[in-house]
Amino acid sequence: MNGFRQSWLVAKRELRERSRSRAFMASVVIMIVAVVIAVALPTLIDTTGGTKDIGLTGSTPATLPAAIAAQAQAVGTKTRIHDYTDLAEAEQAVRDGKIDVLVIDVNQLEWQGRADEQLKAVVTAAIQISALQQRANTTGISDTQLAELLAPVNVISVEIGQVAGRSPDDETAAFIITLLLFMTVTTYGAMVLSGVVEEKSSRVVEVLLARIPARNLLAGKIAGIGLLGLAQVTVTALAALIAATTISDVDLPAVRGGVLAWAVLFFVLGYALYATVFGALGSLASRPEDAQSAAGPVSVLLVLVYFVSFAAIGSPDTNWARAVSWVPITAPIAMPTRMAMGAAAWWEPIVAAGLTTAAIGALVVVGGRVYASAVLHNGPTLKLRDAWHLRATAAATTPERRTVDRSIAHHNKTAVIALAAALAVAGFVGVVTGDVIIGVAVGAALFALVDRASKGWGVTPSREADRASRSSRINEPHETRRRR
């Protein structure tokens, strides 16, 4: 009970102090502006949505304006006709952008830049028709008969997307949800990371831990930053919604309310999952400079999760897509992606949320233990393994020997296995998604992940191997660390 009150105090402090920071407010404003621009930009740039200005000069049949209007109406565009007697004046109007296209002597179109294909089709068709009318008149066909013959047929065009049964709007929605989840989980997870290191490096953590158990402190911090993230996501989404409704012409992606609600829930779950890991890893570093490298494996993992979820947009019904949307590591992003594609059965998100919650429970225990042991330990960045064993064994004595950069390249066996695995996964993903680039990216990310993870865990080679690798690298630039 007291623990809950304490955690809430910690969360409130995070909310208050962070929302007061100018950098944070700036990021909120920038995000809102970026989203509003992203929503409004198509309308602002796309002048084709409005009325088209068409200039006519030279010999022009009297029927042309009506023909243009009829053709334009058939494709849902409005037109306005401007007559010019002087060619130079008319061309200047094109150059100034006052008119979109100039029709000269009914046989030449002039554009300022690249031709607007739709408008070109409209005008060309109108020219053909008015020519037909003229010829018909000369051969004695009446205008009424001709009008019946030439009545434009309404043709509709449908975008069917890459996947049968889904619209491109579903794909857009899935894409936006995937990207937003990835960005917010990464951003706010990183905030937890830097917050933990900040408390550790300023040494305030010892004062805090004398008052509040480590687990409550970490929980409060994660909750506070999470609420801040939720607030920013909500504000940004509202801004986007308002922009979309105010600037009328935008088609909102066909997101169903249920999918949005699940996406918010999965943001909370995904954030909780990764923030716990970030918090635990942050406690390993003593200085802000070391935090990024301590959290390296998870950052890489998140990118991998993003790629996998992104790939799932293209084939949401396959077994591998179903699998990644259930596995807790990838589920928080992949499941909303599949739901946006309408590929998940009603019970699937419930299963995924349940599994993810269970994983969070386990991670809180593991991460809490790492955090509690490591957060009071100053000195070089700890290895996970050391932090895990810290309670039972040494504190001040362990980390000294681990200052040599041990990238995976030093362990030939591990390197070969990791490389083979990465290649196999890259090949598999490439074949499954039908996209070589995604395959290569996934493979590279996997290799980087294994590399970082082995460094983070502190795989210790035999002494000989260590010495050999050190001497073999003697002329290469290597990571130097300041020692305190």
């Binding site: 102090e17 040494r203 004062v207 008052r211 009071l376």
Partner: protein
């Protein structure tokens, strides 16, 4: 339980092959200043951290008023760690309010306490400044208030005097005496033995994680079976070696310091000295804390 408030019983903590605490046993009593002494690396900080659960003991216990220390009990304690640290970018008053509330005090009670202490330490005008805008000395004061905001029953201070100027030391001493007089149990570590001797009723001396001397300072000094005699004289120095039961500690022109058994007959001693010289001043004292310390730690 009256008497002992803070009680270490056989507290042991090992880091690998090094014992930071080795069956460490002592008590600190309410309303008294207890000086916690020991050479560097003796285990003082580890012991203090153990009070706050920052170190998990391998064996033994630390108890408060006869009961194990739970997180709820801990919120009634105040702690100033050796590694000073607060949020650098947080405003002074808000920071103190936050730390007080974390100790499960109501906001109004904490606010009253914070304002009183800010006033008392002359920081009222800096209350809304960010901590990192304050001078080093003022930051130390804020750190002290952070340990006091919850009106603690037990105050633990790790090296509270380190890095303070003489005036700040005097202020800090006065404040600690006052806090103890109000009934608080105060345990603090220090290397400034003269200061501890002036301030503390009780001392605990620890070496290699083990308590080598503990108790009431006067009692400890009196219990030592030898005394020191300081003599100022003029005339020829006597043959010190001929005086039975006395051992010369130091001698220079006109002054000598002797170590004698506490059973020595002072009249015999003065007679022996006055054979060759005239005594101007004569003092007979139990050993100082420094001497107790050196003796205890060297043993």
């Amino acid at each position: 339980m009256s008497g002992a408030a803070l009680e270490f019983a056989g507290a042991t903590k090992r880091y690998g092959s090094v014992a930071a605490l080795d069956t460490c046993t002592f008590t600190a009593r309410p309303g008294r200043l207890t000086g916690f002494l020991g050479p560097n690396g003796a285990g003082k900080t580890t012991a203090m951290r153990a009070v706050f659960g920052l170190v998990e003991l391998d064996a033994g216990t630390v108890a408060w008023q006869g009961r194990p220390i739970t997180p709820a009990v801990r919120t009634r304690f105040g702690y100033m760690p050796e590694e000073r640290g607060l949020y650098p970018r947080m405003r002074v008053r808000e920071q103190l309010l936050y730390l007080g509330e974390l100790a499960n005090r109501s906001r109004s009670a904490v606010a009253a306490s914070v304002d009183t202490w800010l006033e008392r330490l002359g920081l009222t005008t800096r209350a809304t400044d960010r901590l990192d805008a304050l001078s080093h000395g003022n930051q130390q004061r804020v750190q002290l208030i952070a340990a006091l905001v919850n009106d603690p029953e037990l105050l633990v201070l790790d090296e509270p005097f380190s890095g303070l100027d003489p005036i700040a030391i005097a202020n800090m001493s006065e404040l600690l005496v006052e806090v103890a007089a109000a009934g608080t149990t105060v345990l603090f570590s220090s290397h400034q033995l003269d200061l501890v001797e002036d301030l503390c009723e009780d001392v605990v001396i620890i070496d290699h994680g083990h308590v080598v001397l503990a108790g009431d300072l006067e009692g400890l000094r009196a219990a030592v079976p030898h005394r020191f005699v300081d003599v100022d004289y003029h005339g020829a120095p006597p043959d010190w070696t001929s005086i039975v039961g006395a051992e010369l500690v130091e001698a220079d022109n006109g002054h000598a310091r002797l170590q004698v058994a506490h059973t020595v007959d002072l009249a015999d001693l003065t007679t022996a000295i006055e054979r060759t010289a005239t005594v101007e001043a004569f003092s007979y004292q139990p050993p100082t804390l420094s001497e107790l310390f050196r003796h205890a730690v060297a043993a």
